[in-house]
């Protein structure tokens, strides 16, 4: 996660160009471009905002207003694995509040925080659409269902060893 590199890489630019091929104007791919840069760097820094905005011929203020609107765009550094913890109604009925406290205790972080070893960031997420298997959460790209304190321990241990998913 070297964020001192400002300029967009060749891979990032070619992925953005691919989106531009079917866009009626450049700023139309703003969200795609933010996602592309985040997938390479883990998050979107101030300098990335400037670089992307320049490339899409829009102001960095406008792009930042978009970046900060969407909860899956991270404007601060995050850990290797982002935990998307579902706290919506079906998971709540099935006891997710207690499980979130368990994560807080196990990892020593609350919502929006990253562990000191940069392994995990915990953020809440709207209903993950797996309510028949509640409670659920995602770690990286993987969905974990029917959570218990024991299964959470196992999932976090595995993810800490494996490092970043994908």
């Amino acid at each position: 996660m070297n964020n001192s590199v400002n300029s967009l890489s060749t891979e990032e630019l070619s992925a953005i160009d691919e989106e531009l091929e079917h866009a009626p104007y450049r700023s139309a791919v703003a969200i795609d471009a933010l996602k592309i840069v985040q997938s390479h760097r883990g998050w979107v820094s101030d300098s990335s905002i400037k670089e992307i905005a320049n490339y899409l011929e829009m102001s960095s203020e406008e792009l930042d207003s978009i970046a900060t609107f969407y909860n899956l765009i991270f404007r601060r550094p995050v850990g290797e694995n982002v935990i998307l913890f579902c706290d919506s109604v079906s998971c709540w009925i099935r006891g997710c509040a207690k499980l979130e406290k368990h994560i807080n205790k196990t990892l020593g972080i609350t919502r929006g925080q990253t562990t000191e070893d940069d392994k995990f960031t915990l953020v809440p997420v709207p209903c993950l659409g797996a309510c028949d298997k509640a409670p659920v959460m995602m770690v990286g790209d993987s969905l974990h269902e029917n959570l218990t304190e024991e299964s959470i321990n196992r999932i976090l241990e595995d993810a800490a060893v494996k490092g970043k998913e994908r």
Partner: protein, 429 residues
């Protein structure tokens, strides 16, 4: 006679249906029939005659929605069909199944729909967290281009269609169709003022239809088997099947394709197996987090748009959330209002400021700091925020639905909390 068109191909282990199997089981016949043998207006008539209503929650007749798209060539340019695959309504988990398990069914429905409104570009707006659905859909789109179901001159005709998958960057409000359009344009997902309606001026100012996943999955089957077949699938006044779901403390939570109009009791007791031992039923939200509670007296009602509407709620997404006797209705509503307050786009004041105020009162009530004026204040907030016309879109009025009905059906719980009492089932921090 096919009785479960949407899930007939779905494997028990939920592995994806391969294109070969999809085709062998009648797949792409609906698209072939419509594109090679029918005119767009004939297709539209079939969908109108079928009485298909939107499965995303509002229940608007699909054929009527499509009929608002201008079909003349007075203003040449693109027309768009957009699939709303931004499933995020709390308690809703039906579209995930349809996309992960049988992606070609959705794409075929989109081809048929696009042909009907003569759209030349289609998008699937998929929520970013649906990683597996993104994989199955991307693969299916590639296969369709290779087989000539997408791209130039589809099935040897002069009809052409490009289909793109857009994975979103989050936010519940993207499910509102004009917010979704803004998001597809690369903007913040604030809903737009209507009129103009998207059917006339939508994506990049061009005619655009936005339909839910389940709605679009029905299209090819209706075109293949006819409107009469579709109408006969339903039990009551509505046509077709419905993906019903149950979550909460029940024996067998899940999602099933059943005739539309199946009773709540059958869904809850037969398919979901009734309550878990030690829990008894108190109420339910019939179709996601923004629908009004129903209670015991409503269990024998048919789950269709009209019947649930007459009972004071909405069928919504058809995926019900069960309230049991060990879950506090005040706490449950607090969870929902927290969600809606968090997901407000911030554009209009009643939603941006009113929902956090509501959440604040419910927080105090559920943590034992309730006061006698709380109920009156909640009632006033429901009146102001809940009236259509006071807000820019339906998010905040939707948020008021579970609150107003919980206060009506479970007054004793609200009164207990308003006396500053703690509750055995509410979190106390």
């Amino acid at each position: 006679m096919i009785t479960t068109p949407l899930t007939k191909n779905v494997h028990e282990d939920r592995r994806v249906v391969l294109v070969e199997d999809y085709e062998a089981n009648g797949g792409y016949q609906g698209a072939r029939k419509s594109i090679t043998q029918m005119t767009p207006s004939e297709c539209l008539q079939v969908i109108k005659d079928s009485n298909l209503r939107g499965r995303g929650g509002a229940g608007f007749p699909t054929g009527m929605k499509w009929s608002f798209v201008p079909m003349d060539n007075v203003s040449p340019g693109h027309k768009y069909l957009v699939c709303n695959a931004d499933e995020m309504e709390p308690g809703t988990f039906k579209d995930r199944l349809l996309m992960e398990c049988d992606p070609h069914q959705l794409i075929e429905g989109m081809i048929c729909g696009s042909y009907t409104i003569q759209a030349d570009i289609a998008y699937i707006f998929l929520r970013g967290e649906y990683v597996k659905a993104a994989e199955t859909l991307s693969q299916a789109i590639k296969e369709c281009y290779a087989k000539g179901y997408l791209g130039r001159s589809i099935m040897g005709t002069n009809y052409s269609l490009d289909l793109y998958l857009h994975t979103s960057a989050g936010r519940y409000i993207c499910g509102e169709e004009t917010a979704l359009i803004n998001s597809l344009e690369g903007k913040r997902a604030n809903p737009r003022a209507k009129p103009p309606f998207p059917q006339v001026s939508g994506l990049w100012g061009r005619p655009t239809i936005v339909n839910n996943v389940e709605t679009l999955c029905n299209i090819s089957h209706i075109l293949d088997h006819g409107p009469e077949w579709f109408q006969e699938l339903g039990i009551g006044e509505d046509a077709g099947t419905k993906m019903y779901g149950v979550s909460g403390n029940v024996q067998n939570p899940g999602c099933w394709e059943l005739p539309i109009g199946t009773t709540i009791r059958e869904i809850l007791e037969v398919h979901a197996g009734g309550m878990l031992p030690g829990y008894s039923f108190r109420g339910l939200l019939p179709g996601g987090g923004s629908t009004d509670f129903l209670v015991e007296e409503h269990l024998d009602l048919a789950m269709d748009y009209g019947t649930i509407g007459k009972a004071g709620s909405r069928m919504g997404t058809g995926t019900m959330i069960i309230l049991d006797d060990k879950t506090c209705p005040v706490g449950m509503v607090k969870n929902l209002i927290d969600f809606f307050a968090h997901e407000s786009c911030g554009f209009c004041t009643p939603c941006r400021d009113g929902l956090p105020q509501t959440a604040h009162i419910l927080q105090d009530m559920s943590s034992g700091k309730g006061e006698s004026r709380d109920i009156e204040n909640l009632e006033r907030l429901v009146k102001f925020i809940g009236s259509i016309g006071n807000t820019h879109c339906a998010l905040a009025p939707g948020a008021m639905e579970p609150l107003q009905s919980a206060m009506k059906y479970f007054p004793e719980d609200f009164e207990r909390h308003a006396k500053g009492k703690k509750c055995n089932y509410c979190e106390t921090d």
